[in-house]
Point group: C2
Chain length 179, copies 2
DNA sequence: CGCAATTCAGTTGTGCACAACTTAATGACG
DNA sequence: CGTCATTAAGTTGTGCACAACTGAATTGCG
């Protein structure tokens, strides 16, 4: 292991070290290496999670994002697409076709609001509500699959939420100028 | 907040409580609720991370998965598609078109192995190697965006790796029978 | 009222993830 | 040697994520 760099690959990063963002004395060369591992980990964890859900949700006929939508609908009932997007951090470009598929599957209905005709409200059908009972087994099986205790899960969740908040804020600052 | 359930939504989950997997005395009804928050968190964190990378990598002309591929190539040089897939947990269905785009961008070349004509080896072009210098700034900016210390990041990484390992193992057991 | 700006859902186009399949090369075995 | 299982890469089809855009409804303001 630790294969080292192939010839011609060591790219002498200029030694400019902005001291405000560097939390430690990590050589510049090692950053890509470390980074390497970290972003792999997050990416891989997300996909592994998705994979386990895929297996469990297959018998419910749901994909993972569809399951997330149903969770919101089971909890809140009739919900405008806009609010679904806020809960799930998804825009209409993702939700519109997804909801169309859920509607085609007979799990939700979409009704244009009478008060504001721009808005479309989504509500679970009887079949959609009934699915909740079968879905109730999923969380426990997911928990078992992680091998984590409840405390560990909750702790991980709070870290991830903090991460998400920081990243969202950074993305906003990064966007137009601000630099 | 805490909107409560809309009428007709409370679905009396049967009180069967398998004691082997329940780490705590959490009411069955609350599982979906808790689950709700947890899977949202992971999903959202992954997408938030992706969003920040998207912004930073835009000026390099890379997507996040393409960046992951380049990280492997920068570290290991010439690598067969098969091994890339092992590093990144991706199959040829994902990698083939991705590598085709990287090749079209002039960042990598693909060469069929002479020793085993089934295998295709990927290697960075001069342009691809040169890109590494500009990419060296990315990890630091990502770190800054997270607001996490190096220790926190490393700790989070180990948790996520443990999670991924457990989930992968569970997915294998879940698959055919094993029940 | 009349018109511009905003809001909301939907569409289009690109790219990733993955299951299922195809094709070609390799290796094992009789 | 010939046959068959295995392996590697690629292709096809479905679905998600997101940017950019369209179009209709609403709101704000003069």
């Amino acid at each position: 292991m630790t294969p080292g760099y192939p010839e011609g690959m060591t790219t002498e990063v200029p030694p400019s070290a902005p001291p405000d963002t560097a939390p430690d004395a990590v050589p510049e060369e090692d950053w890509l290496h470390l980074e390497h591992q970290i972003c792999f980990s997050l990416h891989a964890a997300s996909r592994a999670f998705n994979g386990v859900y895929r297996v469990l949700l297959k018998e419910l006929g749901l994909t993972y994002p569809q399951y997330l939508v149903m969770l919101v609908l089971w909890e809140h009932g009739r919900t405008p697409v806009k609010r679904l997007g806020e809960h799930l951090r998804l825009d209409s470009g993702t939700l519109s076709p997804l909801l169309k598929r859920l509607e085609a599957a007979g799990l939700v209905r979409r009704e244009r609001s009478t008060r504001d005709e721009r808005s479309v409200e989504v509500l679970p059908t009887g079949q959609g509500v009934a699915l909740r009972e079968r879905a109730a087994l999923v969380p426990r099986r997911i928990m078992a699959a992680t091998g984590f205790t409840l405390e560990e899960i909750v702790d991980l969740r709070s870290r991830l939420d903090r991460l998400t908040g920081a990243l969202d804020a950074a993305a906003l600052e990064e966007a137009p100028d601000c630099g």
